[in-house]
């Protein structure tokens, strides 16, 4: 009995220890740096805690910590607030686009003959076999003024001169929608595939034509998948750095890019840490919402 209990605690402890060592501890290190000041030193901030120097030294170091970096980031004089807002906007619009593209795909997959569904699922996951970075680079080749897309459209006579796609927000949307599509399709597919098709027969039997039945039956029953897909795309899209950096223009503001600039160009570990902590706070809202939806779903079962 006692051994059994100990075994159970061990199993439960593994994920918690993992989170503690690889998430919570690093987070507190970042948080501590965000409260420090830049310094020309190694590491490039102060104070540095030195436990060997005794309690007095640690207290002195603690007193040096302050929220100056946060007021700097949150000041209207700097572009950070705009970058947060712009990131949220880009992520929100991308999520809507992802849903519009992903829902019909997932619906088609869920209604496809059972025998070809595994193949379709494989095709959705297939892009993951290539590095994400390489796939985004490939889009540069497609979207550039002499790229494949412009050449094709000109050859077809749709346009006379190349469209300016690369280095615009449009390119960022295309990149995000392309890269995140599997994360939208998979939860939608799993929700739609589970749906009992006799429900649609029942709706038809009670006088509901197919299109109305979609909105009254299929759509509400797929909402858990819609929420899961939207949050799985929205949350990482807010902090996206690679896509706006490679496909976006210099005026594409996203917080991931700002953080990168702050860290690597301005070499301010402290300000970039504050940006990261605030980004996490912004994302806590949708994450908690997602958790709630999931818990409610579990209770529904």
């Amino acid at each position: 009995m006692a051994r059994q209990t100990r075994g159970r605690w061990l199993v439960i402890a593994v994920p918690y220890l993992w989170l503690l060592a690889l998430f919570l501890v690093p987070f507190f290190i970042v948080f501590k740096i965000s409260l420090s000041q830049d310094a020309i030193a190694q590491p490039p901030y102060e104070p540095v805690f030195d436990l060997a120097a005794g309690w007095e030294a640690v207290r002195g170091a603690l007193e040096q910590l302050n929220f100056d970096n946060y007021s700097y980031v949150l000041s209207w004089d700097n572009e950070f607030l705009l970058a947060y807002a712009s990131s949220l906007k880009i992520a929100a619009i991308s999520t809507v686009l992802l849903l519009l593209v992903g829902y019909p795909v997932a619906y088609g997959m869920a209604r496809a003959p059972k025998s070809i569904r595994p193949t379709l699922l494989m095709l959705v996951i297939l892009p993951f076999w290539t590095s994400f970075l390489i796939r985004v680079y490939a889009w540069i080749g497609i979207l550039s003024p002499e790229g494949l897309l412009n050449q094709l459209l000109m050859a077809l006579g749709v346009i006379d001169e190349p469209l300016e796609l690369l280095a615009t927000d449009t390119a960022v949307y295309i990149g995000i929608v392309y890269s995140y599509l599997p994360f939208m399709i998979l939860p939608l597919y799993s929700a739609l595939e589970k749906m009992d098709e006799t429900l649609l027969e029942a709706a038809a039997d009670l006088g509901c034509p197919p299109f109305a039945a979609f909105w009254k039956i299929t759509w509400p029953l797929s909402l858990p998948g819609v929420f899961a897909g939207c949050l799985l795309c929205f949350i990482p899209a807010v902090g996206e750095f690679v896509i706006p950096d490679l496909l976006g223009g210099s005026d594409t503001l996203m917080i991931g890019k700002s953080l990168w600039t702050e860290f690597s160009v301005n070499r301010s570990w402290t300000v970039s840490s504050a940006v990261a902590v605030l980004l996490l706070l912004v994302l806590v809202v949708p994450i908690v919402f997602y958790q709630n939806v999931q818990t409610r779903q579990m209770e529904g079962r």
Partner: protein, 390 residues
């Protein structure tokens, strides 16, 4: 609804059904007509050149083993399948080509197919809302339905908060709410336990009579079909084998298939010896005896025939009966099945064939008067069995 109180007296609630037999009236116009209906799925023929008439206010059962085409036959009426050829008419109107959402029939699904995201109330109101029925009329109808299935206090619950029996009632209420001309029931009680199923069968009959609607039920449970239906159609391999009231199906089965499928039966193979004056004599090869059946049939001496006798019509005695001239044979008890209300005695005849005899256990008995390996006499009167030629 045109069905008023006056009409209800045609069938009485909870008692013997009187005089409801429109299928015997040549002037009666059927409500539902299947005319030479064939349905194929690829190379598989689910329903083959089938014609069937069902009358208004009838409780009609389609009975058969799984895969016999009974569900396909029903789904063609609901509109989920279109016949490959043939016509299906409802009240004179050809239904073929009409989508399910425009047909005046409703179906209760085997899985109930309740909308999981809607409350009981909204499930029942769904069809009425779909038809644009006014709000207060919808509310009144839903309340009426809830009362009918005794679920008033569960109106706000979601389907997953209900028991299996309650879900079954919601499904029934939902399919009745629109007062369809015909209610289709696809194995409606299959998921309930035996006791609840028996109760619900009687409730279904009461509801059907109260609302004066036509019910078409699909079932593989012969007891259920016998209990609820005015007429039963026994199906096999996409064809109708026999269409008749339950008592006729049971007592005068049209073939060995029907006799064997509905209830328990002893089938004895033989040849017709003579057929005159309403008495058929059949020589049973296995037991090497002549059996007499009082029946008017078309059969010539020498024809192959089978005698079907239900176990409950077979007498079993330890002493030889006084009149040994008619349908009497001796054997030994091979096995006894004690069912509580009945005991089934398996009697082995001299040639090794077996005949079952059922005997009600009229008294509390600890020691049975008849036991294993006893020598017994079994007998049945000439009007107990039937001669089957197919």
């Amino acid at each position: 609804m045109s069905t008023g109180v006056a009409e209800k007296t045609q069938k009485t609630v909870g008692g013997i059904r009187r005089k409801f037999a429109p299928w015997t009236d040549p002037k009666a116009v059927p409500l539902i007509r299947y005319q030479n209906v064939t349905k194929r799925f690829g190379s598989f023929t689910a329903v083959e050149d089938l014609s069937l008439d069902i009358y208004e206010r009838e409780f009609f059962a389609l009975l058969g083993p799984s895969g016999c085409g009974k569900t396909t036959l029903m789904r063609m009426l609901a509109g989920f399948e279109e016949p490959t050829s043939g016509r299906i008419t409802l009240a004179g109107q050809d239904l073929v080509g009409t989508p399910p959402y425009k047909r005046p029939v409703n179906m209760m699904f085997q899985s109930y197919a309740l909308f999981p995201h809607m409350s009981v109330w909204d499930n029942i109101a769904f069809g009425l809302k779909q038809d644009g029925v006014a709000k207060d009329a919808t509310a009144a109808r839903v309340e009426e339905m809830l009362k009918l299935v005794k679920l008033e206090q569960f109106a706000r619950r979601k389907p997953h908060q209900l028991s299996g029996g309650q879900r079954q009632r919601v499904a029934l209420a939902r399919s009745l709410a629109k007062r369809p001309k015909v209610l289709l029931l696809d194995e409606p009680l299959g998921a309930l336990d035996k006791k609840l199923r028996e109760e619900t069968q009687f409730e279904l009959m009461d509801i059907q009579m109260e609302l004066g609607m036509t019910f078409l039920i699909v079932t593989h449970d012969q007891e259920e079909a016998m209990t609820v239906a005015d007429r039963i159609a026994v199906m096999n391999h996409g064809k109708l084998v026999q269409v008749a009231p339950p008592a006729v199906i049971y007592e005068q089965p049209a073939s060995r298939y029907v006799a064997d499928f509905v209830g328990d039966v002893n089938l004895i193979e033989g040849k017709v010896e003579s057929n005159a004056g309403g008495l058929v004599r059949v020589h049973a090869a296995a037991a090497d005896m002549s059996l007499t059946i009082a029946q008017d049939i078309q059969a010539q001496p020498g024809d192959a025939a089978w005698i079907a006798v239900r176990p409950e019509k077979v007498r079993i005695d330890l002493d030889p009966p006084a009149d040994r001239s008619v349908n009497c044979v001796s054997g030994t008890i091979w096995d006894i099945g004690y069912l509580g209300d009945l005991s089934i005695y398996h009697v082995e005849l001299a040639d090794g064939s077996r005949i079952k005899a059922a005997k009600p256990n009229l008294t509390r008995m600890v020691e049975r008067p008849i036991s294993w390996d006893d020598k017994v006499w079994i007998s049945w009167s000439p009007d107990a069995g039937v001669v089957l030629t197919s």
